[in-house]
């Protein structure tokens, strides 16, 4: 027979046991949750070539540490700008957990449309502050709300060259603008027809304008221009184009038709394959191309020097690009998406990327794994005031007009045409914002 006090005692004992059990469970919750992650993670993927290969390796490593998770890539096939394909997929009702993004203006568009969910809570709970500095958080934020988690970045003010070309011309990589211009004649005398390979077919000719803008007018002016807080007819823009004109007048790039006949990859071929050109200003993805496609040894066969100094008070600036992950608001598996975001800024993912020549902003990354060229670029960016590549900050219709007008500038770099070109971009900007 059981007494009332005995029952009460039993209940108290069971309550105590339950409380202890719950406390024990709670104390192990993070580990338990990490093990329990399961289901499908859908990633909207538009990268190709080496980037796609690297990405697959990162995914495989994530799955290896989370056996209950599967990853499905929603692949967008695009030549150049993938935003059209991404928009089509989203409007078409595709549901993904994560979007790979490289355009800050596009992030804003996605956030405005309610496609993205903020990741400030995750930033705090996963302790990403320990791995990423505040500037990376700011870069992924819109109006104080964080949507983007940067996982790689690249120097866009680095000029690629082939070591043997420099040796043949008897020159060192130029440090100043004057040295840079003077090197053209020496390279031509060494038998190279076109010192600078400019691939102006679509967009890569704008790289020269953008680094020149930073070195001429600084990051603040470039940021204001991107936000249309100053007009495109501003003297800073005209001065930048006049600097660009100096380069053309010095015989850098051949005739406009040759520039228009190539995109950046054709221009890279001219430097590293046909060996008829010497300098190439393009992003760090060329590192993988040089190693894999041309079979060159990083730091031995080819190198990279930072954009020459202009002496106009802004030589501590560099243009950069990044890739970030955006978590979607309607993703079916937000817990796994968050775990993947955490994984991408961890040591394992950063080191996989380093193996492919990509720099991670995470402090967990082992920078010694980077090759010598990537280390040069990383150091240059670390010492610079940086500004995101201008073209990716502009509204879609403006960026198109901006690139076409820069083509017109290449056809005729006179002062009169600089006025016409800047006026045309400004006219488009007036209706784009």
């Amino acid at each position: 027979m059981t007494t009332t006090s005995g029952i009460a005692s039993g209940i108290r004992r069971r309550s105590l046991m339950a409380a202890v059990s719950i406390a024990a469970l709670l104390s192990f919750a993070p580990a338990a949750l990490a093990q329990d992650l399961s289901g499908e993670l859908v990633i909207l993927q538009w990268q190709g070539g080496t980037d796609a290969e690297m990405w697959k390796k990162v995914e495989d490593a994530f799955i290896a540490s989370h056996p209950g998770v599967t990853i499905r890539e929603l692949n967008i096939t695009a030549q150049g700008d993938a935003r059209g394909g991404i928009r089509t997929a989203i409007l078409g009702g595709e549901v993904v957990d994560i979007i790979i993004n490289t355009w800050p203006a596009f992030r804003a568009e996605l956030a405005d449309a309610g496609v993205l969910r903020p990741i400030d809570e995750q930033w705090a709970s996963f302790g990403w502050d320990q791995k990423l500095s505040q500037s990376w958080k700011d870069l992924g934020a819109i109006g104080g709300v964080t949507y983007g988690l940067t996982y790689t970045y690249g120097d866009r003010s680095g000029i690629w060259y082939k070591t043997s070309h420099m040796e043949k011309a008897g020159i060192e990589p130029p440090k100043t603008w004057e040295e840079f211009l003077a090197s053209f004649d020496k390279l031509k005398a060494a038998g190279y027809a076109t010192p600078v390979a400019v691939g102006a077919k679509y967009w890569s000719h704008a790289e020269w304008f953008e680094s020149l803008l930073l070195r001429t007018a600084g990051v603040e002016t470039a940021a204001k221009l991107a936000a249309h807080e100053i007009p495109w007819t501003d003297e800073a823009v005209k001065t930048t184009l006049k600097k660009f004109a100096e380069m053309l007048a010095a015989g850098c790039c051949g005739d406009p038709a040759t520039m228009f006949a190539n995109d950046w990859d054709g221009a890279a071929d001219l430097v590293f394959k046909a060996e008829t050109a010497n300098y190439l200003l393009i992003g760090m993805w060329n590192n993988a191309r040089a190693r894999n496609d041309y079979g060159l040894t990083e730091g031995v066969d080819y190198g990279l020097f930072q954009f020459p100094t202009l002496g106009m008070g802004h030589d501590d600036t560099s243009s950069v690009d990044t890739k970030e992950l955006n978590a979607t608001a309607n993703g079916a598996n937000p817990a796994v998406a968050d775990a993947f975001l955490d994984y991408i800024v961890g040591a394992e993912a950063a080191n996989i990327m380093a193996g492919y020549g990509y720099a991670s902003p995470s402090s967990a990354a082992d920078s010694s794994l980077l090759g010598p060229v990537q280390q040069t670029a990383t150091a240059a960016v670390a010492q610079s005031k940086v500004q995101f590549v201008l073209g990716d900050l502009l509204p879609g219709d403006l960026v198109d007009e901006y690139r076409v007008q820069l083509q017109k500038f290449l056809q005729d770099p006179s002062d009169a045409n600089i006025d016409a070109v800047t006026a045309a971009i400004e006219a488009k900007a007036a209706e784009s914002y």
Binding site: R83, G84, A113, F260
Partner: protein, 322 residues
């Protein structure tokens, strides 16, 4: 003389197709067709009508509807009435595409059909001996424009690796080597040449069939009267093969008007938009800038242009039908 009655259904169908107007109605009546059979006919047509509605009618209506909205990226659509059309015709880039489209369309049609027609007449002098040649020419028609575009990129490449420039240099004219696709003066010409290459096969086949349909007696009479091959071509083959040529022109015009793939691959509409046609403009506005309403308005304009060409041609081709 009346035809003997047949007991075969197949023969009935063949006969029905050869009859016109009242004759066909008479046959239908004799086989027991009644208005009451219409529901069954419509029922059988439902699958086709549904597919046609999904694949053609709905996209068409949706495109026309979108053309009245201002849509930027993933933002909310804003009704702008005819605003997109007004803006379109005030847009210098679009006006430029109209000129480029007209040039491209007429030039590729003249070149493709012209070459196809001449080759068809020449081949008809020795039809069996030229079979392999005709198959080879026609096979280019079966190659995807995108794939052909990459082949032409290799031919027009500006550096030493470009086939055309290499050949020019081999013949001792290195000064004539040129970045064909990069020069605003030559890019459209190069594009027309490349597009016409793939376009010769169909006119060749259509014109060849037309030439083959010329009664042998006419050609034999010309030979017996001492006509030379050139005279036969000029005075007999050319005029009598015109029906085939008209069909070839019609098909080429429509194809060239809507051209996109080869422009996308070869020039991307450049340099400095010098090769941008309405089809490419539509893609650029809709897909790269994602101004769906504006792109839809350009699509509707292109559709109207296609209709302007198609309707008279369809009326002319079906004038004899009842």
């Amino acid at each position: 003389m009346s035809n003997p009655a047949t007991s075969s259904g197949v023969a009935d169908v063949g006969r029905a197709s050869s009859l016109a107007g009242g004759g066909r109605r008479k046959l239908a009546a004799t086989r027991g067709w009644r208005f009451s059979n219409a529901p069954v006919a419509f029922f059988l047509l439902i699958p086709v009508l549904v597919l046609f509605g999904i694949a053609v009618v709905f996209p068409l209506i949706e495109t026309i509807r979108l053309s009245f909205f201002d849509i930027k990226g993933l933002g909310k659509p804003k009704y702008v009435e005819l605003g997109n059309y007004v803006k379109l015709f005030a847009d210098p880039a679009f006006r430029n595409t109209l000129t480029t489209t007209l040039t491209f369309t007429l030039a590729t049609t003249v070149v493709s059909v012209g070459i196809g027609w001449v080759l068809a007449m020449l081949c008809s002098f020795a039809p069996r001996l030229t079979t392999a040649f005709r198959v080879m020419i026609f096979s280019a028609f079966g190659i995807s424009e995108a794939v052909a575009g990459y082949m032409w990129i290799g031919i027009f490449r500006p550096d030493a690796g470009g086939l055309l420039n290499t050949v020019i240099s081999m013949f001792g004219f290195p000064g004539f080597a040129h970045p064909w696709l990069g020069d605003t003066n030559t890019a459209l010409g190069a594009l027309i040449f490349a597009a016409s290459w793939g376009g010769v096969g169909l006119p060749l086949m259509l014109c060849f069939a037309s030439v083959q349909a010329i009664p042998k007696t006419v050609l034999e009479a010309a030979y017996m009267d001492g006509a030379k091959p050139m005279s036969i071509m000029r005075h007999i083959m050319m005029p009598l093969s015109l029906p085939g040529v008209r069909v070839a022109i019609f098909i080429n015009l429509l194809g060239a008007l809507r051209a996109f793939d080869i422009i996308y691959v070869l020039t991307g509409g450049g340099p400095v938009r010098s090769t941008e046609t309405v089809g490419y403009f539509m893609y650029r506005e809709s897909m790269t800038q994602f101004k769906l309403g504006y792109g839809a308005a350009a699509t509707v304009v292109l559709l109207l242009a296609v209709l302007v060409i198609s309707i008279p041609a369809i009326i002319q081709r079906t004038a004899g039908a009842k």
